[in-house]
């Protein structure tokens, strides 16, 4: 543990990111979280879930939810074509897919090259952005998957506005 902390302190660790595009913007996620990258396939919609939830797919027997990153950014839903890409990532114990426009690159950078997100007045709710990276002339936004999926996404996933991570009492749907 101690040596790892030391290493982080010196910050000479390299990280690899999978970068992808949504519209004209470029984003990246830690490659260690990425399980696979697959072409868009039709999902089964989940009723009464927000725009950002595209539905679920069958991934070799597992039911995997797909989230629309464009919708997550507050834009209209992606109109997926067969060129759209789903990045399957594992977050904590869960496996989810994120729908993006295209995968562009694998970026290797030093940790100390990650710039913190500047506080932006006009943009709120970007708590899931972990930082910014400059690659050549491009800016790549580093997405913290844990943050993105632990709070806002799930909270937003219930149309009634109640957090979806409600206890079993809610899930049972007992009629009052």
């Amino acid at each position: 543990m101690a040596s790892e902390a030391e290493q982080t302190a010196h910050s000479s660790r390299t990280v690899q990111l999978v970068s992808f595009t949504v519209g004209n913007e470029e984003y990246g996620v830690d490659i260690m979280a990425v399980r696979e990258i697959r072409a868009w396939s039709e999902t089964t919609p989940l009723p009464n879930t927000p725009e950002v939830v595209r539905g679920v797919i069958n991934m070799r027997g597992a039911i995997v939810p797909i989230f629309d990153l464009r919708a997550r950014f507050g834009m209209p839903r992606t109109e997926p074509t067969k060129y759209n890409v789903v990045i399957i990532v594992s977050i904590s114990a869960r496996i989810v897919g994120i729908l993006v426009d295209a995968v562009s690159d694998i970026i290797t950078i030093n940790e100390d090259e990650i710039r913190p997100m500047p506080s932006m007045e006009q943009v709120s709710g970007l708590g899931f952005m972990e930082g910014l990276i400059t690659v050549g002339e491009r800016m790549v936004g580093l997405i913290g998957l844990e943050r993105m999926f632990s709070d806002r996404m799930l909270e937003a996933a219930d149309s009634t506005g109640k957090p979806m991570l409600a206890g079993p009492s809610d899930a049972g749907g007992a009629a009052a």
């Binding site: 089964t44 009723p47 679920v56 039911i63 989810v96 799930l154 899930a171 049972g172 007992a174 009052a176």
Partner: protein, 746 residues
Amino acid sequence: MDDLAQFKQTFFAECEELLGDLEGHLMALQSGEGDNGTLNAVFRAIHSIKGGAGAFGFDRLVAFAHIFETVLDLMRDGRLEPTPDSVLIVLHCADILSDLVKAAQTGAELPPDHESEGRKSLIEMAASIGVDADPRAADAALAALDAQLAGGSLDEEPAAPAAAAEPEAEPEPEAAPAAPAKAPLLKYLVKFEPRDALYQRANEPLILIRELRELGGFIARADADAVPAIDQIQPEGAYIKWEFDIETDRGESAIRDVFEFVLDDCLLEITCLNPPAAAAAAAPKAEAPKAEAPKAEAPKPAAAAAPAKAEAPKAEAAPKAGAAKAETGGAAGGGAAAGGDAKQVRSIRVDLDRVDKLVNMVGELVITHAMIAQQTEHLHADQHPELANGLAELSHHIRDLQESVMAMRAQPVKSVFARLPRLVRELAMMTNKKIRLDMSGENTEIDKTVIEQLGDPLTHMIRNSCDHGIESPEDRTAAGKSPEGVIHVSADQRGGRIVIEITDDGRGINRDKVMKKAIEKKLVAPDAVLSNEEIDNLIFLPGFSTADTVSNISGRGVGMDVVRQNIQSLGGRVHIQSRPGQGSSFILTLPLTLAVLDGMVLKVGVQSYILPLANIVESLRPEPDQINIVANQGELLRIRGEYVPLVYLHRIFKVPMGIDDPTKALVIIVELEDGGKMGLVVDEIVGQQQVVIKSLEENFDPIRGVGAATILGNGRVSLILDVAGIKHIAEHEPRGARPRLAAPAA
């Protein structure tokens, strides 16, 4: 350390099984159905717990188990009569033992005097026939106290207080002269060769050897020839063999007993060097039929060897127990009994994960088969007879395979039922009622997960029956019933479901009171007209409780709705039937397995869903005059004089292109958990299909109205509907769920 934790876990798992069995055997004893085999089984269970507890250093548990087993040994030998009173003490002590096991498992601290009363009762029982069961007897002061206690509270002759000063109790005064009734001392040569497995199971030969030494004259020789050079030694390898010369009066079985837990993991040879012709032959089988002459015939070799002492049974029993420790003396009989109990079910312990993996694989197979079947549907069977036959056969095999795999996960409900007698006993005591528990169908098998989650709801329902159902003995007598109330718990397989019924013969549900309470708590409208059945089922509503005073048994108003939730989450249903004055029945239906479900594939707009077959009552396309509109919003379907609310699935789930006119769509009447009905409007029924249940919650969160998901033959995910959730949406989002009244439907 991890290994140790694992061993502990195994130990506690075994304890749980043993305690479960114990409960059953004790119940048999109490009802008078028990025989010597039952007592033997009880003894063995306690002995096994003690053995394991000793290995892990649960001293408190060991100490209590030791006294307990001593007394049971006396009972098993026929020296102590299992009278109703003494059986009651044994039952109580079994509860205490179970508490101690639990405390050892959880690390919880029990009050220091938790077992002292039970302990005292046991010591008294043993003392009543002059046996000192207290392992601390060497502690003179304590022993003397115990002996006095024993003498004072029983109408037998008091045990001489002086006796307590010695490690063993003296026989009663008048029997004393006849005391020295010794079995012949026999010499044995014991060869003991542990295998590797013995060490791997954390057994320690030293403990065994020490125990052997207690049997009598003892010489041990170790053969260390096989010990390899130090760099080749396996830490858990077995290299040393032993030979022991033992001189004992307790027979071969006592020696064998020492090795009871390692018999499978060693080579054990016991040779008697001077066999006494008659006694040896008689010894192992000398089981006394205690029913006829319990005390006159002692089952020990000692009795066979010294028949002259038969008229003074106590005298003979006592010194024997005095000379030997009661524990090991008893173990002799245990060995013999264990030998006779040979018809054991052969089984292996398999990690549940492995079974679950297999279950999943079979699930995939079911899906793949559905896919192939769908792909070949358009081919004519007569053109491809082999393919058609092959597919049909595959379908058979998959079903068989699936059933076999499910059977691996299935367990008899016995393991849950076993806890109930104790519960009822405690509740009866706490409420001052007389309650008898009858059980049937304990061997009905259900999926392990269901079993695991059945405990709590079952406990709640039993509590409810004891607390609210069964009346006090006085009330019962006044009502012309037997003062003893009866709760019958049964399990039964009906079709693809398991039905568990809990029936009491108590006062039944007081419908006026329930109704009043429900109105008071605003659970129903004051002017609501409910059928008797609907009123009865109000008790399952959250926050409902009719108990006038909140007792610590039930009456906190959480019980019944929690029960319903638990059962629903298992895919089951629960409802109550009640006959005023005659009693109530809780009826629980549960799926056989949680992995597969028979469902109906429905189409709604552009989507298809699966509706569990178990929910469906019937389906129909209504005539226009069957549809009635209430208060300009709700639609009711009149069917055979009954009004059923219509719920449009496409509105609930906001699916585009759903059919809005029920007379052109299809109405599926579904039954709700509370006994109510709902008409689900869908476009069409595609067909019936067996589907594999896949959890949505593994990677997502629960979604109201959706119970789970499955994968259809085309590889697409389809959602399995949860009717209770759909009803909830319909009731809470009226704008989305009910038609905006634009034009009359008719």
